[in-house]
Amino acid sequence: MSWVQTLNFPFMQHALIAIFFAGIAFPIIGVFVLSLNLIPLRFAMMHVALLGGAIGLFLKVDPLLSGLLFCILSSMALGPISEKMKLGVGILSGYFMTLTLALAFILIYKADIHVLQAFNILWGNILSLSGLDLLFVIGISLIILSIVILFFKEIQAILYDREIALAVGLPEKFFYYLIIFMLGLTIAVSMRLIGALLIDAFVLLPAMAATLISRSLKQTFFFSSLFGLLSGMGGLYFSFVFDIPTSSTIILVASLIIAGCFLFGRGGIQS
């Protein structure tokens, strides 16, 4: 069967539509993660999503829904708690990460969840997306893109320097929490697409590549979306051609793009 013929199958159409939207929108969240140094937080949220997914399997509800719910709750709680306790988001993330991972493993072990189901949470499967999964991907992608377009200047100020954004009279906390909230949503949905362990394929890697060659935030958003789309579509295509797992192939393509940008680029956001 040829690559073109597979496009007649609904599972392939779902995968293509999901990659199109997630490939464009999710790397924008990666730019937020890099600029605000939220790497520990996104790592914690990946594990929260994993716990949510495990609870979903245990309760026999859709793991995407339970993962999404847990990510929403944790993304709403982490920012304000860290502010209240005067702890860095990184420290709190470390706590959440280990706790949720331990709970997820206990649950998977005790509830006798089938090992393949558990692996599905870890690895995801972009070729088995339901209509509901697809709706979530499209909905969350459109939310992210709308927020970035409508509030570009506020987001630019906060990504540049939170202290400055506050000092010029912007509602810095509101937008910071909104960014964390969008990160939670993205991670929960990415878990279904590509799995908890490989979420960075869509979120972080295209953004890393974009920061290596961009001279403005608009360029960074544009290139991160372009690279997200290229690595998603390329990963899907090559996984079919070479008969290898799709998630891993997406990562490989994204990594090649980073290597290319590193050779021709100039640095990256992090100092």
């Binding site: 600029s35 409508l150 540049y160 400055i164 009279g169 912007l170 935030l217």
Partner: protein
């Protein structure tokens, strides 16, 4: 006429450490006030109290006639206070100098509004005053520490504030540049009719420019000029 800045018997604790212990500071409109003190004396904390990002647990703080304890949200007031922080952003965030200066206008533009020509003009004017027009198309992280400090000053000016807060604005500069930037700040202070509050560890540097100088020592403020 009310004071532009008035702190009465202000106490601030950071964690379990008492930083300010009954500080009184007053700045009338158009005054140039300097606060000097050693590192860790609480100078940056004092500026945070004035722009409302840190709330004292005791005392009175009035800025531009507003009692800061009366308001939960002080965004409206911060739009009228230009802040030049001590530490300029050192990450490699991709932003041109002109865009970084334009951020000073963002608080006044309103949600979901794009910067207009008038905002860009004010940003360019501020860059000219701060002497960084030639860098407008450069990335901020390509500049030296002193040049970044001027970007921060230009951003604060683009804001068209009534009060200018400066946190060790000469930290990254050599002695010649220190005098230059102090002259620039002083000129701007007079031209724009600002109330300026500058904190520095170097009392000799600020003496000739200041109407009043306070010394911050062991949590207390002493008027020394």
């Amino acid at each position: 006429m009310h004071h532009s800045i008035e702190l009465k018997d202000v106490y601030v604790c950071l964690g379990h450490v008492s930083v300010l212990e009954g500080v009184d500071i007053e700045a009338k409109p158009y005054e140039f006030i300097s606060v000097v003190g050693a590192n860790g004396a609480g100078k940056t904390t004092l500026l945070k109290v004035v722009n409302g990002t840190l709330r004292p647990f005791k005392g009175q703080v009035s800025v531009l006639g507003h009692d800061l304890f009366q308001f939960k949200n002080l965004d409206f007031l911060r739009r009228d206070i230009g802040l030049v922080p001590q530490k300029s952003n050192s990450n490699r965030f991709p932003i041109l100098v002109e865009e970084a200066v334009l951020i000073g206008r963002y608080g006044k533009i309103g949600f979901m509004q794009r910067p207009k020509e008038v905002d860009w003009n004010k940003a360019y004017e501020a860059m000219k005053i701060a002497g960084i027009s030639q860098f407008s198309k450069k990335l901020v992280h390509e500049l030296s520490g002193g040049e970044r400090q001027k970007v921060a000053l230009a951003r604060a000016l683009a804001q068209e504030p009534s009060i200018l807060l400066l946190d060790e604005p000469t930290t990254y500069l050599d002695s010649k540049s220190q005098s230059e930037i102090m002259e620039t700040i002083h000129t701007i202070h007079h031209q724009r009719g600002l109330t300026t509050l500058l904190v520095s560890h170097d009392s000799r540097l600020v003496e000739q420019y200041s109407d009043k100088i306070y010394l911050l020592k062991e949590g207390k403020g002493y008027l020394i000029k």
